[in-house]
Amino acid sequence: MARADTLARARELDRPQVAYIVRFPAADGMRDTELTWAEMDRDAAWTAERLRGHGFAAGQRALLTASGFEGFWGRSVIGALRTLKVTYGIAEAMGWDHRRTAVFHRELKPHAVIGLSAETLEGLSGGADIGEMFRATQVVLARPAAVPVLRQAGVPASLMTTVGPALALECPERAGAHVNGAEWRVGERDGGLFIAAGEGRGSGLPETPLGIAGQVVTGRCGCGSHDPRVLLTEIN
């Protein structure tokens, strides 16, 4: 009885291949694309490699701040953390929940904070010195608007962002956020980023301008990865 049996029963159901319909802002409005279970597994494996590059290892703790509609990348991060045997705490990325982030940070002393938002920082800054709070955290992967705030406060934050339906993560080189080149094709046109699904991606998302100002860097990164990297005008 209880939860394990409930899930065992659930596994007998004839479930669809698709896990999520991911909606994302594009240059001409909201678009959507499907995300399958197999793709989520591959995304999680790629994310695990990226986090390993940040020194994530078994037994550590991380704090993930995310919103309810961000499961499409949040679950890949969680999958990666599980692979790496890193326990995660979870708080909302919205500003009103900053106190929960503060308590998790104070009590669990996480090795990493993932998904930190400018709204959370704004909330925290009312009662804490942001620099003092996060300088001791080994890895801070922050959203675009939070990165300059953190860096100004002396925190060597790395960028994590979404590029349409794809997750982009900066490595410790901090030379642009990596996008999984095996799954996505990213590029720039007229100073704006676009994305298209790679061949293995079931959705077949065509080239879609995103309305995000930035550049794409190709070639080998100092971390050894050949994934394309996005540099957002907003933070460079």
């Binding site: 209880a2 999520y20 319909i21 909606r23 309810g68 509609f69 599980r82």
Partner: protein
């Protein structure tokens, strides 16, 4: 759907004597496990002269094992600097995740979690979601927050596809559009969203928009009678309320809408009258405090946890055929306010607030520094589009509250939006606040 109403029929309709026998077996194991692995329980039970060898039956458990409270866990946490308050029964590195309570009454409390396919809270909702009608291939909009971890895994366990839509406050127009586009079968809602929908109702055909829904759930605070009728009758949404099962899980309404089902294979629930002299089990149907014991949590089980929720329990089989106990929430211990010695309860204020057209959404809070006060301070949210004269509203509302409670309130009227923005939790709009 009648033929497959139950997700786990053998469990959901299990005869109560079998259920009780199963609970006894689990409780006896749990006491030994917690004593051997939790510093908090070992210390507490040693202080009370309780040892696992003395606990062989549910009666032993109820007679010997002491209650715990949130304050006791907080005190242990403060004293030992253990973030889990000594409750943890496994090494911290074995945890998959740590979620937390809303923290409306202090620092959030941590919930240690070990799981595979989906986090524990939403896994315990799978049977309820099945009862709502969720089936493989159905669409579900993402919930307003991560609440106690991402909820998606529970929906997806049933084969639902999650459509990523920002459903947080202020977005209901977009949510309605998304409902029209994706035709979801299920939607998780919170009370302030319903208030937003109320404002959209004159401009949008909500009944048409929501016609794809098999059901929607709503948690965080009870729906008022009037709001419930509005949602069900005017918008055509079969709304299922659910509430906390004393932090061990949740308890949902079934399609009978007659009480919240506890899943008693995951929780041993007691309904007790507790005072300084001791505790007594109250009869089914009488109000008592819900005391809960986790039966399916090896990370950090709550054992005889006083929830402060005042409830009525019934162990009679429900009209749906399920045998697990049902619960009706009467309020929170301590929510009663004494104004110069006169008792004022939330229900009476709610009724007075709802009776005014401008405040029909029932957005209000009692502001008090302590339970006993000299004046009844009420903060009430009004709909500015329906409010021509705030002074006149204050006059009518003050009179209505006085008629129902016998107390003249001190009113602080704000727009609903302004008041709802003070929410510090995805799940709860606090009815009693300190400032």
């Amino acid at each position: 759907m009648a033929g497959d109403r139950y997700f786990e029929p053998q469990v959901e309709t299990m005869p109560r004597d079998q259920l009780r026998a199963w609970q006894q077996e689990r409780v006896v194991e749990l006491v030994e496990y917690a004593y051997g692995n939790s510093a908090f329980y070992r210390e507490l039970w040693d202080d009370h002269g309780v040892h696992p060898r003395d606990i062989r039956t549910l009666e032993d458990f109820q007679n010997r094992v002491p209650f715990i409270t949130k304050d006791m866990v907080r005190a242990y946490r403060a004293r030992t600097k253990d973030p889990f308050g000594g409750l943890l029964c496994v090494p911290p590195e074995e945890l998959t995740s740590v979620s937390s309570s809303s923290g409306t009454t202090g620092d959030p409390e941590f919930f240690a979690e070990i799981w595979e396919d989906a986090p524990p809270l939403v896994t315990a909702q799978v049977r309820d979601l099945w009862e709502v009608g969720l089936r493989p291939g159905d669409m579900v909009l993402s919930p307003p927050g991560t609440f106690r971890n991402f909820m998606d895994g529970g929906y997806q366990a049933l084969g639902a596809v999650v459509v990523e839509v920002d459903t947080w406050l202020g977005k209901m127009h977009e949510v309605v559009e998304a409902v029209r586009t994706y035709r979801p079968a299920y939607l998780q809602m919170i009370y302030p969203q319903l208030v937003e929908l109320e404002h959209l109702a004159d401009k949008v055909d909500l009944k048409e928009a929501f016609s794809s829904l098999k059901g929607a759930s709503c948690a965080g605070q009870p729906l008022s009678r009037r709001m419930r009728e509005r949602v069900r009758d005017d918008w055509g949404i079969d709304v299922y309320e659910y509430t906390s099962a004393a932090d061990t899980g949740t308890a949902w309404e079934c399609r009978e809408h007659d009480g919240f089902h506890l899943w008693e294979d995951t929780v041993f629930a007691e309904c007790l009258d507790i005072d300084e002299s001791g505790s007594r089990e109250v009869a089914d149907g009488d109000v008592g405090e819900l005391v809960a014991t986790d039966l399916d949590n090896r990370a950090a089980p709550l054992i005889r946890y006083r929830s402060e929720d005042l409830v009525r329990l019934s162990r009679d089989a429900c009209g749906c055929g399920r045998t697990h106990a049902r619960m009706w929430v009467a309020g929170r211990r301590g929510d009663e306010t004494l104004v110069q010695g006169r008792s004022v309860v939330l229900r009476d204020i709610w009724q007075a607030v709802e009776d005014q057209p401008e405040t029909v959404a029932g957005v209000f809070q009692i502001v008090r520094a302590s339970r006993e006060v000299d004046e009844l301070r009420l903060r009430v949210g009004y709909d500015p589009e329906l409010t021509g004269d705030v002074e006149a509203l204050a006059g009518r509302l003050g009179k209505a509250v006085h008629e129902r409670t016998g107390v003249e309130p001190v009113l602080d009227l704000r727009t609903e939006e302004e008041l709802l923005q003070t929410m510090t939790s995805v799940a709860k709009f606090p009815r009693v606040v300190k400032s």
